[in-house]
């Protein structure tokens, strides 16, 4: 079995705060002394939406579900959810893959078969 995919983010060298983007100011020290850092792709859905009227580039994909996920490290990430069966506030998800155009894609964790 392969190890679950992880997400590459950035970590403040001074105080360990995590940020999403290279060049971000650290929320704690306001500096930008960052190094790449891998985090677990597991977390829970903070909020979700299912898009019925999409932008033109994803016209053929609607309806699709977008989720704001809080990862185990506390970092929040916007991503797609595979299907819409697991959508729900607080539902557990894990990173499935990072799509080069769409960004992180999560899948619902089925707690009964885990």
């Amino acid at each position: 079995m392969t190890s679950p995919p992880r997400l590459t983010v950035y970590r403040c060298r001074r105080d360990g705060q995590l940020v999403m983007v290279r060049g971000d100011a650290c929320p704690t020290c306001s500096r930008s002394d960052l190094e790449p850092h891998e985090v677990s792709g597991e977390g829970f859905i903070v909020v979700w939406t299912t898009i019925h009227i999409p932008p033109t580039r994803y016209a053929n994909e609607a309806p699709y579900t977008v989720v704001l996920v809080e990862l185990e490290d506390g970092l929040r990430v916007m991503g797609r959810l595979l299907g819409d069966a697991g959508r729900g506030l607080g539902s557990q998800v894990r990173l499935d893959h990072v799509d080069p155009e769409r960004g992180p894609v999560f899948e619902a964790v089925d707690s009964f078969t885990a």
Partner: protein, 385 residues
């Protein structure tokens, strides 16, 4: 700092206006505002023009100098202001700042957008540029989607009901029905709102504003000049502005926009009033839930009480604090770059006693404009002079 007034306002109708291009919409509104002010055109020293997506949807950049020249104001500094859906409101702020600072005596402020007769997917994509593409919008999140997330968070945190949120749409459609400039001129019902089709679950069509064309303009000048030319003029008591996270993943709370809180604190401080002294407000109801968050962030109701206040009729015309008597963006229409100036036009009419849904005895009005999902906000407080 000099006292600043609005000497005149003008506005096109908001809606589908196939006979006018983006430049004609802007010049129509500007000419109406100048005529309303009585101030000769030659006295205008600068133009600030709010516009968000004219380059994408109307293939037109350099909008401010084009509009200035068409108005016969060739040569004056003419500047386009872009702050997503707060573009118009922040254009007004720039007019205010240059007049209060003594740089100009008379400034023309306008906002314009041309959005209809364009495929909905293209409009959706253009509006989504106000979000964080690299972090969030590339997922396929849309603006209605972002506010659908805010709606879920508000419902979960405060127990706000679907019907309370729908009550915003019902109230604003009731108001729009009486406003001759509004795009939607008929009432709706809670049942119609909660059964309309999904745009971005759980947000539905009647939670959203229409896609609109339109322009609005105001003549901003020293209070002395306004008194000389304009019979009724309206003072700008305060102008506040703030910014906040562009990405939802960067928000501490999904149920409050710090940009609004900051802009409001600055404006209340300048005006020397507290929220309880506001008689009428035009707030940025880009979606039903946005009006609830706005009136909470502005301190017009207690945190989490927005839904209850709207449901109880407190924000209806005739209620404790009428909000969006114009119909708001939801019913009056939302030509995004124009909306912030449109709100101010409506408030000026309220404070002159000439509005379609006149609030009895209105003396202090508040306008709130939001860009993106909390990226930028501006608050203006106006008073009967």
């Amino acid at each position: 700092m000099r006292d600043v007034s609005i000497a005149g306002v003008g506005s096109t109708s908001f809606g589908k206006l196939p006979d006018s291009g983006i430049v004609e919409l802007a010049t129509d509104a500007c000419r109406e505002a100048l005529a309303d002010s009585g101030i000769p055109r030659e006295r205008v020293q600068a133009l600030y023009l709010g516009n968000f997506i004219g380059e994408r949807l109307a293939d037109q950049g350099a909008l401010a100098p084009i509009v200035a020249r068409r108005l016969g104001l060739d040569g004056i500094p003419a500047t386009k202001v872009e702050a997503a859906c707060a573009s118009g409101g922040i254009a007004l702020r720039h007019g205010y700042l240059t007049v209060t600072a003594g740089i100009h005596d008379v400034v023309l402020v306008a906002g314009v957008e041309k959005m209809t007769d364009i495929p909905t997917g293209d409009v959706t994509a253009a509006l989504a540029t106000a979000g964080d593409e690299g972090l969030e919008m590339r997922t396929g999140l849309t603006f209605p989607g972002a506010f659908a997330m805010v709606m879920q968070a508000h419902m979960a945190r405060y127990g706000t009901s679907r019907e309370q949120i729908a009550a915003v749409s019902v109230k604003n459609h009731d108001n729009g029905a009486a406003n001759p400039k509004a795009q939607f001129r008929k009432p709706t019902t809670i049942e119609e709102v909660v059964n309309s089709r999904f745009v971005a679950e759980p947000l539905r069509l009647f939670d959203c504003p229409p896609i609109s064309d339109g322009a609005a303009a105001a003549v901003v000048c020293t209070a002395d000049i306004a008194r000389r030319y304009a019979a009724p003029s309206v003072r700008i008591l305060a102008s506040g502005q703030g910014s906040g996270p562009v990405a939802l993943s960067g928000m501490d709370e999904l149920t409050s926009f710090p940009a609004t809180v900051r802009a409001a604190a600055e404006a209340y401080g300048q005006a020397g009033i507290d929220p309880g002294e506001v008689d009428v407000a035009e707030v940025h109801d880009c979606f039903t839930i946005a009006e609830l968050v706005a009136i909470e962030d502005l301190g017009l109701v207690a945190r989490g009480e927005g839904g209850r206040a709207v449901e109880a009729g407190e924000t209806a015309v005739g209620g404790r604090l009428p909000v969006n008597p114009s119909g708001g963006l939801i019913a009056k229409g939302h030509p995004v770059g124009a909306s912030g100036v449109g709100q101010v036009c409506e408030l000026v009419l309220q404070l002159r006693g000439e509005a379609a849904n006149q609030v009895d005895g209105a003396r202090i009005g508040l306008a709130h404009s939001l860009g993106g999902c909390g990226a930028a906000a501006t608050v203006h407080i106006l008073a009967h002079d």
